[in-house]
Every structure is written in structure tokens, then in C-alpha cells.
Symmetry: C2
Subunit: 527 residues, 2 copies
């Protein structure tokens, strides 16, 4: 029987259920010692009931307290960093340095601190006051939030510590976290620290609850449960669409990050000007994290010609000279292999890689190419996401054909255009950017999309099927908090009965829109 305990209703206890699983070390493919439970529905049911009570208690909890909990959690992560990094490295094979220790864990702590600041300040909720009519509104907690964490960021997108967690808590909601089965040990350590921070700062004990795994049908039931306020999922398109259908049918908001090819257009002037830099950018960003980023450039558009042939050779050389990293799991390896096969069957030719490797879960760094004419004829198969270290180059006749191909693209998180720095590509840029813009959440110039900055202006979102709604972002505080909120309006409500943030007096430094003016001040006394 599994020894690992789940966190339900403020108690670490044995899960209910008969089955269990183990994580594997992706670098070797060996199973790890610890067994983790697969929860039955009764665990979910109990979490939902406890979360409902916690949601009520959180509604009358001060934002100061919520803020302190998130800060305390960040501090506790810092204190346990050695153990966290060891465990995440073991379960994901991501490098301890710089990736886990110098990039992802600090990012996770920064997110928690930014969320803490946003919760305390309150501007995230867009407080809006019509002083004359005495109508006031703001966004407010939506209720228990169910989070399904992905495999690719064991800290920064973990359901117990990542961006969705920080946003949901900062918006005043309890979290029901389902860890990703490829790194359960990491999830356990994070949940321990979050729960300790919750206890230290006096938040309701069920502010975070955590299970390691459930059968898919229980996931569908969870996001559709009447007790849930909203859900968020980061992962495969298949899983995301199934959860979306279940949540949609129940009228429950669900925020999804499902898949993205992140098209990059490299205009001729950029190649002429800085071919080696472009080749480095392509290889670095296609292979970072073994290509297992949501924003990995998976589709690169080039104009045919000698410079492009040289670029392809340069990228091929880089792909072949770098040892392939480990993939997260056997399913990721199998999926990558299958998807590369699909793309090849649709007519893409192999430039580099194309075969599984060893030890552990590895696949050769894979570069593919296809003519645009073929891409235009098989836009579906050639837009299969190859999650992992594989990228497809699309060779176009001219700019017009690039624009035509962009017109066939599904929604993506990002789109990127490399161009000459002094204007040589400007005529080409215009139609390319105009075609890309409505199809992507973030448009970049001369820069690859990974490295999603923790900025208030970030959009880590985009049109379907990259996400489920193009108006929301999963990264970028305070906007990411708004996903886990409902709009609440107070019409003619007496002053003492208003939430503090909507009172005449500004309780802190929140920006509020009073009679059309954004201000950190109070409502002016009636003159």
C-alpha cells in the first residue's frame, strides 16, 4: 500500500482507493521507490465539502492575512530549497542549475510574492465606484478552484505552488490541487510547505487540499461539481478538451492551456544581417528543457533561398551536436515519437534526429522541413504539436505564401517575427504581423517566446485551441487573478455593509476607478 498521504480537509491522511503509482527518473527510466495513491471519488467529494466551508471563511478573511500566507510560503520554499531541487531533479531530470535552482524556484517565489502584493493592494479586482448613483462593483472570489498541474514546471506551474495556485489564493479562493503524476514527491514537499504556511498565518485549514492522481472520469466530475467555482488545467489538448466539455456543460468556468506551436517567421533581412544569432536562437529555444515548454517554437516560416539553406544547415549542426535531454515520462516520449511520425506522414522531411535514444526517456533532437505548398494542403496534420525537442521548418516561396500559411494557423499562445534591425524587412513585416496578430496572444519581435516574463503586461494565453478563452492570461499578475473571480455589484447598499475595498475611504493603496478616474484616493465628500 502507498505510504504517501493526501491532504484533505486540513489533515494528511491515507487516500481512499485501491490503486497506486510510482514516479520514474526520466534520466534512467527507473521507477522511484515511493508509492503514491490514486484517489477515489470520495476523496474529491470530501475535498469539495471542505473547500466550500473554506471558501465561506475566506470571504471574511482579511487580504492582509492571505498576503502573509503567500509570503510565508515563499519563505518556507527558500528554507527547503535543497530538498526541493533534489526531488524535482530526480523526478523530472531537469538540471538543478541553472533551471531548477536558479530559474524556476526563484520564479515560483517571485510569483507568490507578486500575488501576495496584489492581494494586499486590491487593484486586481478593478474596484469601480459610481459615487453619484451609489453603485459599486469589483471582482471577488469565485469559490473553490480545482487545479490540474502540468508535467513541465514542477515548481512554477505546480498546482500546489505555481501561478494558478498563487492567483486563485490571492483572489480569495481555496484550492483543490491535483498534482501531476510525473513528479508526486515534489508536489508533496510543496504542499507540506503551503499547508504549514496556511497554519502559521491562520487561514482556513482547507485553503489548500491535494491529491496525487485520480481516474480521468473523476477529473471530469470534479470540474463540473456544483461546489466548484472554477478550474484550471495546463496540459494536453485531449485532456483539456475533455475537461472543458464537462465544465462547460455544467456552466463552470475553466481556464485551459492546451497546446501551441508558437509560429516564428524569420524574414530575409534578419537572416542576411545575423544568421548565426538566429541559428543560436532557434536551437537554444527549441531544445531548452528538451523542448517541453508551452512556448517552444514548433513551427518556423522561412523564405526559400540560399540564406535559408545555410540557416537550416546551421540549425541542423546545432541540433546534432547537442546531446538530447531527457523527456519527462514514457508517455511524453511515446507522444513525441507518434506526433513526429504523423507530421512525417503528412509530408515533412527529416533534417536531423528522428529516432529514440538512451538512457531513460530520450529522443534525438529532431528538425523537420516541409514546403509551404504541402503545408497549405495538410494544415491539420502539420499542426500537430510535437511536445518535446522537435521543430518543423516551413519553406515558403515568398512573403505572400507566408501570409497565406499563417491564415491556416489555429490559435497560438505566441507568434514571433524576426526582421532586419534597420527597416529592410518593414514592408514584409506589416502583412505578416497583421495576419499573426489575431491568431496569437503575444506577438514578439526578434526574440523567442520561452521565458514568459513575470510582468503585469504579459499575456500567457491566446485564441482557441491554445486556451479556452482569449481574454484571459495564466501568467502576469494581477490579470491572472481575474480568472478566479466573479463580478459583484452593490447597488444602493448601505456604507457599513460594503466590502472595504468599495467604501468611500480607500482602505489602503488600491487603484479604484471612481466616476471614470483611476485614483488611489477616497470618494470625494458630497459637495
Amino acid at each position: 500500500m502507498p505510504t504517501a498521504k493526501v491532504l484533505i480537509g486540513g489533515t494528511w491522511r491515507a487516500a481512499r482507493g485501491d490503486s497506486s503509482f510510482r514516479a520514474h527518473n526520466p534520466a534512467t527510466g527507473e521507477g522511484l521507490a515511493e508509492e503514491y495513491p490514486v484517489s477515489e471519488w470520495s476523496d474529491c467529494d470530501e475535498m469539495l465539502t471542505a473547500a466550500t466551508e473554506a471558501a465561506v471563511a475566506l470571504r471574511s478573511t482579511s487580504s492582509d492575512k492571505i498576503s502573509r500566507c503567500l509570503i510565508r510560503f515563499a519563505e518556507r520554499l527558500e528554507a527547503r530549497r535543497g530538498e526541493l531541487i533534489e526531488m524535482a531533479h530526480l523526478e523530472t531530470a531537469l538540471p538543478k542549475s541553472p533551471r531548477l535552482g536558479d530559474v524556476e524556484l526563484p520564479r515560483t517565489m517571485t510569483q507568490l510574492r507578486q500575488a501576495a502584493a496584489a492581494a494586499l493592494e486590491g487593484s486586481w479586482s478593478l474596484p469601480t465606484i459610481d459615487a453619484k448613483l451609489n453603485i459599486r462593483s469589483c471582482l471577488a472570489a469565485i469559490g473553490p478552484v480545482a487545479l490540474f498541474g502540468p508535467n513541465n514546471f514542477p515548481f512554477a506551474f505546480n498546482a500546489t505552488s505555481g501561478g494558478d495556485f498563487a492567483a486563485a489564493i490571492a483572489a480569495g479562493n481555496p484550492v483543490i490541487a491535483k498534482g501531476h503524476p510525473s513528479h508526486p514527491g515534489t508536489t508533496r514537499l510543496l504542499a507540506e510547505e503551503a499547508f504549514a504556511a496556511i497554519g502559521e498565518t491562520g487561514l482556513p485549514a482547507a485553503t489548500l487540499q491535494m491529491i496525487y492522481h485520480i481516474a480521468p472520469e473523476h477529473g471530469l466530475r470534479l470540474v463540473a461539481d456544483p461546489r466548484v467555482g472554477a478550474s484550471a488545467f495546463t496540459g494536453s489538448r485531449r485532456g483539456g478538451l475533455a475537461l472543458k466539455a464537462a465544465a462547460d456543460a455544467a456552466g463552470k468556468p475553466i481556464y485551459l492551456e492546451m497546446s501551441s506551436l508558437n509560429p516564428v517567421v524569420i524574414l530575409p533581412g534578419a537572416l542576411k544581417e545575423r544568421a548565426a544569432k538566429v541559428a543560436d536562437d532557434v536551437a537554444d529555444n527549441c531544445l531548452a528543457g528538451t523542448g517541453q515548454f508551452c512556448t517552444k517554437p514548433g513551427l518556423i516560416f522561412l523564405v526559400d533561398g540560399p540564406q535559408t539553406l545555410e540557416l537550416i544547415a546551421a540549425v541542423k549542426q546545432r541540433f546534432e551536436s547537442r546531446p538530447p535531454g531527457a523527456l519527462f515520462s514514457a508517455p511524453v516520449l511515446a507522444g513525441l515519437s507518434d506526433n513526429i511520425a504523423t507530421v512525417r506522414r503528412a509530408g515533412a522531411e527529416l533534417v536531423a534526429g528522428g529516432a529514440a535514444g538512451s538512457p531513460g526517456y530520450r529522443f534525438g533532437n529532431t528538425l523537420l522541413r516541409v514546403e509551404a505548398a504541402r503545408f497549405l494542403n495538410h494544415p491539420e496534420a502539420l499542426q500537430i504539436e510535437m511536445f518535446g525537442n522537435a521543430t518543423l521548418l516551413v519553406i515558403c516561396r515568398d512573403i505572400g505564401q507566408i501570409v497565406e500559411a499563417i491564415g491556416m494557423l489555429e490559435g497560438n499562445l505566441t507568434g514571433c517575427v524576426y526582421s532586419h534591425t534597420t527597416g529592410e524587412d518593414d514592408a514584409a513585416y506589416e502583412p505578416v504581423a497583421a495576419a499573426l496578430c489575431p491568431r496569437v496572444g503575444r506577438l514578439l519581435n526578434d526574440k523567442m517566446p520561452p521565458g514568459v516574463a513575470l510582468s503585469a503586461a504579459m499575456n500567457h494565453g491566446g485564441p482557441f485551441p491554445s486556451t479556452g478563452h482569449p481574454g484571459f492570461t495564466a501568467v502576469g499578475i494581477p490579470a491572472s487573478l481575474r480568472r478566479f473571480a466573479m463580478l459583484q455589484c452593490y447597488d444602493n447598499v448601505r456604507p457599513a455593509r460594503l466590502p472595504l475595498i468599495l467604501g468611500d475611504k480607500n482602505p489602503g493603496k488600491a487603484w479604484r476607478c471612481i466616476d471614470g478616474q483611476w485614483t488611489q484616493g477616497d470618494v470625494a465628500a458630497k459637495g
Copy 2:
């Protein structure tokens, strides 16, 4: 063959399709002379193609021009007010004065002018600038918007002139409008004026397209079409849920306003203090517009006792002494009759009304009552929306039972609490409001919910199934524009390539959030 023409791709032309319909005068039940066409799918298909082109053109249209079009439209409505009011009165039986001429038409013009101001100013898009990292984002047009107008506001919610129309256009999107078949003549007049304003101000000709009617399956196909950006629907729950399922499956945002009972809690102190005023408020607001408001109080909670018996008698007297108004259509009359029967079968007793009347589409002003214990046992049947002049009183043992009953409520647009003005009800208010708040979009004190003010702080939205997403509002500019928008981020994009609203220099008076501070100023020069 119908003589009325549809507006497609910038041309008034005959619809494609074999069938037609007529509107009726609700006051008499008589069919009106004009025949209107039911469009086949090919009309929708043509509109979608034209709208796609218009959407591209609108992306490079100045907000000044869009703003002028909306203002010009409002001016043209004013110029044609006599004809509009005559036609709407004929088709809806709503009084010419005050309702149509003094309230709804002015409201419609105000909405258009507010939307024009919002488009011009730009703050609606929440422009956000991270000057240090050069990441900038704002909401931007989502693409062609399909609108399905309701029966109950021939001007202010008409798909060719109402709040959704104004919001979609102001956000930069072309509109595909499906008029409501109960007032096609009004829709035609409005579309004529909108189209003339579009022509006068040089917007793309397909900025508004209009058809009168389509088969339900074509509606489902329309909201799911890849060329659509988003849709909005105001109407019945059944229709809304069908459209939602179709749009959801295609990953297309749809904003729905489907049904709402708008619970009102009348606390004992309020009755003690101002029983006659409360009785007037109840009768006035339950019967206004023959109860055909989305925010009609449909469910009223009272604490049992002599005061409550007196209130019931007073409301009964008012219901019986006022002549019932006309309902919009034969289906509305049939629906009201059916739903009252369902509610009675579930145990509600008739206090007043309960039978159809004449002439035209009329039903006696109907007051029903039920004990809370029964409500708690049949919460589904007793929450059937009785769209029209019928309201259910729920008689509770005490405040605790009111809170318990509120716990059974589905999501509603509004919730209202009447209480004693000097504190006598304060202890009761707290648990009642705490229970109501998460179940409603707007909480009111001592005021009935109809009369949805055109305020930036308004929320005309609420939890499912009153709408499809609790984070959005259909009334209240600028927030209502944000439904028809996608978040677009510009990461490292060169200055000359940015949308004006995200440039270092503020192009006008937009409020922008620059490095966490809301300002109407420019991005500070790098120091």
C-alpha cells in the same frame, strides 16, 4: 413572398429561403401586414465572409471614426423617433410613453453615446505597459460578433442598436445581428439607421449585417463557425443552453443572459417600518412591462407573521386592481401559463390571477405563495422562471429558514434585501446577504432590481445559469466592451509597430496602467 429585405455585405437584398413569418400586435393578437423572411444558411455564410473582411478593415480603422459612427447613429434615431416608437408600440404593445419614448429610446441613445466615448477614449481595453521590459498589452477586437436580440427591449437590447451592439462595435468588431421575430419592423428601422450611419462615417459596409430569422440549427452553426469571434444571446434558458453547447464545443466565447428569478428578501423591520411602500415596490416592479424584465422580482422571501399576511393582502389588492398588460407574443403567453402550472403543481397556491385574459396576449396578474418547507423540498420546480406578470412568495419560519432557502438558489442576476432603515434588521441582514452574495451578480438594498442603470459600476450578469460566465456584464460601459475582446500582448515589439494606445506617448486621454500606476500620461523617458 416577403417584401422585407435583409442587410448582407453592405446591400439590402431579398433573403435566400422559402419561408416567412409575420409579427403580431400583442394588444389584439392580430397579425401585422408585413411579411419577413426566414433566412437559409447561405445568408449566414455570406454574412460571415463579409464580416471577416470587415473585421480586418476595422482593425485599421481609427477609434475616432468608430466613435463618430455610434454618435451619428444616435442622432439618426432621434430624428426618426416618431416612426420608431409607433412601430415598436405596434409590435410589442409597450406604452409609447413613458416606456418607449421617454425611457427606452433615450436609454438606447445614451448607450450608443457612452460606447462612442469609450471607443474614443480607449481606457476600456485596460492598456498595460511594462516600460522596463518593453512588454505591453491591451484588449483588442475579437472578430465578427453574432448577436441574438431578445423580445423584451425592442430598442435597448435590439441586436442592431442595443447594449451588445454598441459594445461590440465600440470594441472594433463587425456585428451579425439576428433580430427577434416578435418585432421585425422595429429591427428593420434600426438597422436602416445604423447602416446609414456606417455609410456616412465611412466604416466598412459590413460593420452591421442583419437578418430577421433563422432556423434554430442555423443559429447553432453560426455561433460555432470558425469565422465568428464571439456571440451574445439574451433570451430563454433553453435557447441559451443550446447555443452555449454549440459555441463551447467550437471553442468560441459566447455571452448569455438566460434567466433569473431575482430573489428579494423582505426583513421584518422593513415591513414594520414601511409596509405600504414595500407593497407598492413589489407590485410596481413585478408588473412593470407586464413582468417581462430580466430583473423582475420573481421570488420574494418573507418571515411568517401578521405583518406578512397584511403585505400579501396589500400586494394581492394591487395585483387585482391593475389591468394586466399585454405579453409580447403567443409563445410568451403559453410559456407563462405552463410555468405557472408547473409551479402550482409543485405546491404553490394561487393568491391572485392565474388565468389567461383578453384582448390579445394577456394573463391575469398572478401572485403565488408557498411555504418554505415545500420550497426546500422542490427547489427545482419552484425555481422555474415565470417570464411575465407572475411572482412567487416564499413564506419562511424565520431568518434561518430564509438563509437555508437561499442556499438552494441557482445563480441569479440580482438579489435584494429590504431592511429597517435604522438598524433593527442588521443582525438578520448579515447572514442573508452573505448567503445571497455568491449567488447573484448584483446585491441591492431597499430597492427593486429593474431599472438597470447605465453606470460603469453596473453588473448585469451573474452566476450560471443566469449567464454563462460570472465575470462579465452585459450592461455598464466600459466593462461590457471587454466581452468582445481578446488580450493581445506585444513583447519587445518596436515602437513604430505598436498600436497607438500602447505607444510611449498617450494618443489621447486613455487611462493606462504603466508600471503599476494608472495614468493618463505618457511613458516617462528613460532616465
